[in-house]
């Protein structure tokens, strides 16, 4: 039987300098003003948030900026029962894939002010923003999303609502 080899702790730290590029820079500047924005693909007309300056499906550059709503629809979600490394949030918490009105793709964010057992695919939600003086170049300007008192969106319509939401 061989002896265990020595194990030592050697922590690794990474600090990034991230060059946002033109499209994400516009997105982050809007975000600092409390506005969600995306870009429309000139070929497939799909609107992406966050915009990365190109359409991943078509592989073409995107230029047209689109202002989005801070209301959206739950595309899917998970209820997380374990802590996130480096994040102080207490489990269980709901992480939802949310499609903002006017966009065709989801991002993840917290869903709060709700009974976790009543969260569902197609549920309407809206952003709860931090106080204006705390806004910076980050999605954390939105504290979380909370349920809206609106009818659920049919599954086949999720990801297709206009910026005006259900009324559109």
């Amino acid at each position: 039987m061989s002896e265990d080899v020595a194990v030592m702790q050697a922590p690794v730290y990474l600090q990034y300098h991230f060059t946002a590029g033109r499209a994400p820079t516009r997105f982050l500047r809007r975000l600092k003003e409390g506005v969600l924005s995306g870009q429309r693909c000139p070929r497939c007309s799909q609107v992406y948030i966050p915009p990365r300056g190109s359409c991943p499906a078509c592989g073409v550059a995107t230029e047209e900026e689109v202002i989005l709503s801070d209301k959206g629809t739950v595309q899917s979600f998970t209820i997380v029962h374990i802590p996130i490394p480096g994040n102080p949030i207490d489990p269980p918490y709901v992480v939802a894939n949310i499609v903002p009105d006017g966009a065709n793709i989801s991002f993840i964010h917290l869903l709060s002010e709700c009974d976790n057992r009543e969260v569902r695919i197609g549920q309407r939600v809206e952003a709860v923003w931090r106080p204006r003086e705390e806004w910076t170049w980050a999605m954390e300007n939105i504290l979380y999303f909370r349920p809206l008192d609106e009818p659920d969106v049919a599954v086949e319509r999720i990801g297709t609502l206009p910026v005006t939401g259900l009324e559109g």
Binding site: S2, E3, D4, V5, V7, A10, V12, L14, Y16, F18, A20, P24, F27, L28, L31, C41, C44, Q46, V47, Y48, P50, C55, P56, A57, Q75, S76, F77, T78, I79, V80, H81, I82, I84, P85, G86, N87, P92, V95, A96, N97, N104, I105, F107, I108, H109, L110, I121, A138, M139, E140, I142, V155, G159
Partner: protein
């Protein structure tokens, strides 16, 4: 493919949560020495070494290949590292096979590994990113919403995931190399295990493992060893972006295309009937019914019924046993997990799978996926020369 190629040697370590008795090089060498012995060859007979592992941050060792050349007998030979996230084990086998099929080399050593105990893969998958909130809770947090959508659209029996979790651990109890040895696991135990990422429970998720898997792949004129070769009858890889508007995340196009390609090469029209077994990358139990559909074993929305019927269970005498080795749910040294699927498919058609052998298996599918279910690698191996 130009040249015929076959697996002539397979070597695996025992999979466990911590292999603190060996260094990373020592862990790899254990699998490699076994593969060489199985093939009846030595390092002198190897023309090139292809290695693969998951992201460096999973172990906190950057570019481990730079110090592994001598331990792997690669000095003075071509050495190449492959990286396609969780599917890397499969891609590494395919890169090795392609180097033989192309006629570039006669005998290639392929090796993959992960020593998860040396770092924290969940942390490595949960780093903050610019312009997104920091809510990445490991791979389970990413896949749970996709599983939820599968459950919704298929109307699957909610116990399907529990069934798979039990089946694969019972399979794993037949495999002395498997990390988890849970011969007496029950559905109640799985149902009672803590919810991690709803709907994924603790016992419906894969473990974190240390381990390595190696193979020797040889050209037809370089076969060796005492066991029958596992002939490579088809190889395919596909990829797609992680996110795009309208992406089919439950049943990814890249997976369907990859399966169609590998079946066409192997002359397979009906995978459920024509394959004898399959080793499929199922890190979360619900991915069995999802991949049954993606890979054409069941119609869309019907995969869970196949699982519940016992068709994929060796213990229940199913007609298309999946993951007889115990699968990723029983052992998950991430970088190696895909290759283990490919190697276990080869063991089956060599008739060398021990207590988890499917009687008379002559044709098997090995499968791996990675990233946001966006990288796919598959091969079909058979007892018959193509």
């Amino acid at each position: 493919m130009a040249e015929r190629a076959a697996v002539v040697g397979i070597g695996q370590t025992r999979y466990k949560s911590k292999r603190q008795d060996v260094s990373m090089a020592g862990l790899l060498r254990e699998a490699v020495d076994r593969a060489l012995a199985d093939a009846g060859v030595s390092f002198d007979d190897i023309d090139a070494v292809i290695m693969g592992k998951a992201p460096d941050m999973f172990e906190g060792v950057v570019m481990p290949e730079s110090y592994l050349a001598d331990a792997l007998g690669a000095v003075g030979k071509p050495m190449l590292r492959v990286h396609t996230a969780g599917s890397v084990g499969g891609s590494t086998a395919i890169v090795a096979a392609s180097h033989v099929q192309s006629g570039s080399f006669r005998r290639v050593l392929a090796v993959t590994w992960e020593k998860q105990s040396e770092s924290n893969a969940m942390w490595a998958l949960s780093t903050p990113q610019p312009f997104a909130v920091h809510l990445n809770a490991g791979a389970g947090g990413y896949f749970a919403p996709i599983i939820r959508e599968y459950m919704r659209r298929s109307g699957a029996d909610p116990n399907t995931g529990i069934r798979v979790a039990v089946k694969d651990r019972r399979h794993g109890a037949r495999n002395p190399l498997a990390h988890l040895q849970l011969p007496d696991i029950t559905e109640q135990e799985v149902a009672d295990s803590p919810m991690l990422w709803d709907p994924i429970r603790f016992l419906e998720a894969c473990p974190s493992s240390d381990g390595a898997c190696a193979m020797v792949i040889a050209a037809e004129d370089a076969l060796s060893g005492d066991k029958p070769p596992a002939w490579i009858q088809g190889v395919a890889m596909r990829s797609e972006p992680t996110m795009y508007a309208g992406r089919e995340e439950v049943n990814p196009q890249a997976g369907r295309d990859c399966a169609a390609d590998v079946y066409a090469q192997a002359g397979i029209r009906d995978p459920r009937r024509e394959l004898d077994c399959a080793e499929i990358y199922v890190p979360f139990s619900w991915y069995e019914p999802m991949w049954l559909e993606n890979l054409g074993f069941a119609d869309e929305g019907e995969g869970w019924k196949l699982t519940l019927s016992g068709a994929t269970s060796l213990d229940e005498g199913g007609d298309i046993p999946w993951n007889c080795s115990g699968g990723v749910l029983s052992s998950n040294p991430i970088g190696a997990s895909g290759m283990i699927r490919f190697a276990e498919a080869a063991r089956q058609v060599r008739g060398d799978a021990g207590d988890h052998q499917v009687p008379g298996a002559r044709k098997a599918l090995g499968h791996a996926y990675g990233g946001g279910a966006q990288f796919f690698a598959m091969w079909v191996v058979g007892a018959d020369r193509p």
